[in-house]
């Protein structure tokens, strides 16, 4: 360990409690880090591609998640190793930025590090490797730009959008209904998209699910689904041409914030107070009624008396609606959220064509569907499925597909999937490597090899002979100069990804390469790991 000696030859300690800390230094540290990162990325490698397998994760409380989504797997895995955590962060940032390709980015990073390990053994300095990777990455990104193709779409022409979403969905458990779900996602995104500004606010798309029914029953609701029912069982279950008042104040006598007491000292006061109390309720209901509202949605609860008064005045109401839903409702119906009864008036009401309560199966689950809102920019995808895990996984898959569609609205360029883009980059990097003098050349070749890992894993997961199919497609790419050839995972019979309609977004792919290279550089630069040893 790190010991230093002063001029008299006495040792003194630099790191506090150093005997209780473990420390790895130099090339050892780099290697052990690479080991850890490889272990993490290897878990994900089998999930890549349309024939990728799922992972079953059991949480600390015995709860189960079955998923194929890289970011979710890593998040639930509770990785403890520091370098492992870096990879988890990596897939998370891909998830936040792009939403899809979280598995790919981790696999890519793992492959880069694996290649780096070989170079380290040959005595190349880690920083030189990092530099070579950086140069290679630039070449690869350039190549991606070159082979990307742009397509036009509008509100009607969205076939390509659907196909890209289908590529994303095909690797998930919902692959069976990918066409239907992809159409749904594209419709949802297009209805909330701002095509002028090329922006999509995904907050406007709500994903909601209820166990039961079939996956085919999943539907896009042009409005909002609330997991609530009417406050009084005898209120009408179906309303048309509804004027909605959204309140954030409870139907209860007001509670002043300052501490106070009301002392009752004689009978008159007692009576007066009682009158006052009843008056409160009447006023509240009257104020709602006067504003012309035909449905009251409230963030808080109602007193029994208020509830009955509402019912009595033919004013249906919903209570305990969460803040997020409330905002979404306000957005969709064009209502203003009203914090005080006094401020309620006709101009602050929202409008919806219909509000109805639907019930499911044999249990007493009820939900409110609010449809036909003037600002149709809020939509809900309502997921049904055999069990809870299925619903959760479907939601995650749909989220990925929605992100992809959003990215396409932002940037219309696409590259071809099935490993075609990676192979094209790999060829370009290899060609560029020969022109680079110095040790970086090796690193660039390693980068090219790492790029091959993606099509390699795709082929492996699909049950194809990995090396043979890779080399075959790669030579064809070389000979024919056709960068759209990829691995034929679904056994369709053609390697041309244009015919198979396997697209990915350009920004997604670029982001993958950049993030993976960055993390790789970061890990390579670490040469000393100090951590407290575990307590007994």
């Amino acid at each position: 360990m790190s010991l230093a000696f002063d001029e008299f030859g006495r040792p003194f300690i630099i790191i506090r409690e150093q005997e209780r800390k473990s420390r790895v230094k130099g090339i050892e540290a780099v290697k052990s880090n690479i080991q850890a990162a490889k272990a993490v990325s290897r878990v994900l490698r089998t999930s890549l591609g349309p024939k990728g397998m799922d992972k079953l994760l059991q949480g600390p409380d015995g709860d189960i998640v079955i998923t194929n989504d890289g970011a979710t797997i890593l998040e639930q895995m509770e990785v403890e190793n520091q370098i492992g955590k870096l990879l988890v962060e990596l897939s998370k940032s891909q998830d936040h930025e792009i939403g899809d390709g979280t598995t790919g980015v981790t696999v890519m990073a793992g492959a880069l590090l694996e290649q780096a390990e070989g170079l380290l053994d040959r005595g190349i300095h880690p920083l030189r490797i990092a530099e070579g990777y950086e140069m290679a990455c630039k070449v690869a990104l350039q190549r991606l730009d070159d082979i990307a193709s742009e397509f036009e779409f509008g509100a009607e022409r969205h076939e390509e959008l659907i196909k890209t979403c289908m590529t994303t969905l095909s690797s998930k458990i919902v692959g069976r209904h990918k066409r239907q779900l992809a159409e749904m996602c594209v419709k949802a995104v297009l209805s909330v998209a701002d095509l002028e500004r090329r922006d999509v606010n995904l907050d406007l798309i709500k994903l909601d699910g209820k166990v039961g029914g079939r996956l085919e029953d999943t539907a896009l609701v042009n409005g909002i689904v609330l997991d609530k029912d009417m406050s009084h069982p005898q209120m009408p279950k179906q309303l048309n041409d509804v004027k909605i008042a959204i309140l954030t104040c409870p139907f209860e006598p007001p509670k002043p914030k300052t501490k106070h007491k009301v002392d009752i000292s004689d009978v008159e006061q007692f009576e007066a107070l009682r009158q006052q109390e009843q008056q409160y309720f009447r006023d509240m209901v009257q104020q709602c009624k006067d504003s012309g509202a035909t449905l009251v949605i409230c963030q808080w609860g109602f007193d029994d008396e208020a509830n009955h008064l509402l019912m009595h005045n033919n004013l249906p109401a919903v209570r305990w609606v969460g803040g997020v839903e409330l905002e979404l409702l306000a957005l969709a119906t064009g209502a203003r959220i009203v914090p005080r009864f006094q401020e309620l008036n006709a101009s602050k009401l929202g409008y919806a064509k219909s509000v109805k309560e639907i019930s499911f199966g044999t249990t007493r689950d009820r939900m409110l569907v609010i449809e036909g809102t003037p600002n149709s920019r809020a939509v809900t995808i309502f997921v049904r499925g055999g069990n809870k895990m299925m619903i959760e996984e479907t939601k995650r898959s749909l989220h990925d597909a929605l992100c992809v569609a959003r990215n396409l609205v932002r940037d219309r360029r696409i590259v071809y999937g099935g490993g075609a883009a990676e192979m094209a980059c790999s060829l370009a990097v290899e060609a560029a490597a020969d022109k680079v003098p110095g040790v970086e050349q090796y690193a660039m070749r390693a980068f090219a090899d790492a790029l091959d890992v993606v099509p390699l894993s795709l082929a492996e997961n699909s049950g194809l002979p990995p090396i043979e199919s890779l080399t075959e497609v790669k030579t064809r790419q070389m000979q024919e100069g056709n960068p759209y050839l990829g691995v034929d995972c679904n056994d369709v019979g053609t390697c041309d990804m244009r015919e198979q309609n396997v697209f990915e977004t350009l920004i997604g792919k670029k982001q993958q390469l950049m993030l993976a290279t960055q993390v790789c550089k970061m890990i390579l630069k670490i040469d000393d790991v100090i951590k407290p040893s575990e307590y007994d």
Binding site: D54, L56, G212, V262, S265, D266, T362, G385
Partner: protein, 533 residues
């Protein structure tokens, strides 16, 4: 694959474990099949029951035949087994019956898949085959379903048959005709709604199961206040949810502060006065029966007695809602506007005796959408199981009223589906066809298990059924007849099942099997440390 041996220690939290590839698959197959085997023996009319003893201090014992109830009570550790428990729960919520068959079918599908995996067929290929097979089965199921919705008499007969089939595997099998009538009457009363809350089931130990009956009206397990009329004809009922003790002042921070005893007395008097006013307002509605969700104190009770109004206190929330449904009154909480309150009405309210207990009986109600089934039986266990069985039957019936398609039971539907899947398998080139054949085998396991549970020669009977179905695919009605112990005509025997149940079972079983098959890696987080464990 060379995994560093210290992977789990170095990367994951301590105590976490990971299973990969073959091991993971094996673990999930074993778990899922164990669960399926657990409930397998309860399938069919001769299925056996299970005793479940709870872990809590009471050591309560449940005797049941209901798949969902068994699985709900078993604590499973294996993640794949949990998936199966989950689908049986969903089946229960969605259609109410078929909870055992869905688990057994999923288990069989996995058992077949295991064989295929051992033959080195990739799970994704098996899944592809299963998907196509499930699609073909579904198409067949849609084809063979019959619909008698337009003919009321025939539809009722269908419902009765379904109820009898569902009940025949339960404890009520001895009295299945009686109970089938009961359940069908109760469900038809709902007029198409699936809200089973309107059917109240009251369990009273004593008597025999045969003594159970359906009551047209509504029975409330409460007593009438002292000194109030015990029997009312042409009752006008006010259903309320209001405090009938002293009304609290709801304004925040209010309290009483007085300086002399007389003032206390004054305020008490005022409170009393307030109560009296409230009671008078209630009586002013022109009612002769008042039902409240909350307590009614002695003082108002006395006031009601004086006014000749029957007052019933502390009816729970379900009771109130049902009563409102039955009598057509609205649930009120304020009483200032008697003209606008809808009162409930019924012909007679009287006290009745069931066994030793007195209850209040409302008959001749205005809406008549709700009804009560009174279950009698020798012990609590019998009653609990009877209630579960009846609940299953009611669920199935109410779903059938919505979706009136029916199919034959006794393994008939499975044989039909197996036949088309076999044909599909024969036509399909490639490894997928193996998975399809496996799917057909799994489907045929259902009649096989029914036979085995009944102690019959399953191989003989199932192969005879298969021949019968192959000879005449369109009009074969062969199914397992456990009574005579051979192949029987399902139409003559009247063994019917609801289409919706079979359909849901087929789809969720395939979905679950697919989900488990797709897993190739199980990562278990370290169990959370709990205090005192």
């Amino acid at each position: 694959m060379a995994i560093p041996s210290n992977f789990t220690q170095s990367v994951l939290h301590q105590g976490a474990s990971e299973e990969k590839g073959e091991n993971a698959r094996l673990a999930s197959f074993v778990g899922a099949m164990a669960i399926a085997d657990l409930v397998k023996s309860t399938l069919g009319p001769k299925g056996m029951d299970k005793i479940l003893q709870s872990l809590s201090r009471g050591r309560e014992v449940t005797v049941t035949n209901d798949g969902a109830t068994i699985l709900k009570s078993v604590y499973v550790e294996n993640p794949a087994a949990k998936v199966l428990v989950d689908i049986s729960k969903t089946q229960d919520d969605e259609v109410g019956d078929g909870t055992t068959s869905v688990v057994v079918l999923a288990g069989e599908l996995l058992r077949e898949a295991e064989q295929l995996v051992n033959q080195k067929i990739h799970p994704m290929v098996i899944i592809a085959g299963y998907r196509e097979a499930a699609e073909a089965s579904r198409a067949r199921l849609l084809e063979i379903a019959r619909d008698n919705k337009d003919d009321a008499a025939k539809f009722r007969e269908d419902l009765l048959n379904i109820a009898r089939t569902t009940l025949s595997s339960k404890i009520l099998t001895q009295e299945k005709n009686h109970f089938a009538e009961l359940a069908v009457d109760a469900v038809l009363r709902l007029k198409g709604s699936t809200n089973l809350d309107a059917i109240q089931i009251i369990k009273k130990p004593g008597g025999t199961i045969k003594d159970s009956f359906l009551d047209e009206g509504f029975i409330l397990d409460k007593k009438i206040g002292v000194g109030q009329p015990k029997c009312i004809e042409n009752a006008k009922i006010l259903v309320a949810n209001t405090a009938m003790d002293t009304d609290k002042v709801k304004i925040y921070g209010a309290r009483v502060r007085v300086d002399s005893m007389t003032k206390v007395a004054d305020i008490e008097a005022a409170e009393k006065e307030k109560m009296r006013e409230k009671c008078e307002k209630i009586v002013a509605h022109g009612i002769n029966c008042f039902v409240n969700r909350q307590l009614i104190y002695n003082f108002p009770e006395q006031l009601f007695a004086d006014a000749g109004v029957m007052a019933i206190e502390h009816a729970d929330f379900d009771g109130i809602e049902r009563l409102a449904l039955v009598t057509g009154g609205e649930i009120t909480s304020t009483f200032d506007d008697p003209a606008n309150v809808k009162l409930g009405q019924c012909a007679v309210i009287e006290e009745m005796m069931i066994g030793e207990d007195r209850m209040i009986h409302f008959s001749g109600c205005a809406l008549n959408e709700a009804c009560t089934i009174v279950l009698r039986g020798a012990s609590h266990h019998v009653l609990d199981e009877a209630e579960r069985s009846l609940h299953d039957a009611l669920c199935v019936l109410s779903q059938t009223v919505q979706d009136s398609r029916v199919i034959y039971g006794g393994g008939w539907a499975e044989m039909q589906m197996a036949r088309v899947v076999d044909e599909l398998g024969a036509r399909t080139p490639g490894k997928k066809s193996l998975a399809m054949q496996a799917f057909a085998r799994a489907l045929r396991q259902i009649p096989t298990i029914i036979c085995d549970n009944a102690g019959l020669d399953s191989a003989e009977i199932v192969s005879q059924m298969r021949a019968a179905h192959a000879a005449d695919p369109a009009s074969a009605t062969a199914g397992v007849d456990v009574v005579t112990g051979g192949v029987g005509d399902m139409q003559q025997l009247g063994i019917f099942e609801a289409f919706k149940v079979k359909h849901a079972a087929l789809l969720s079983a395939t979905e679950a099997a697919e989900m488990i098959l797709r897993v190739d890696d199980i990562i278990r987080a370290a169990p959370r440390q709990r205090e005192g464990m």
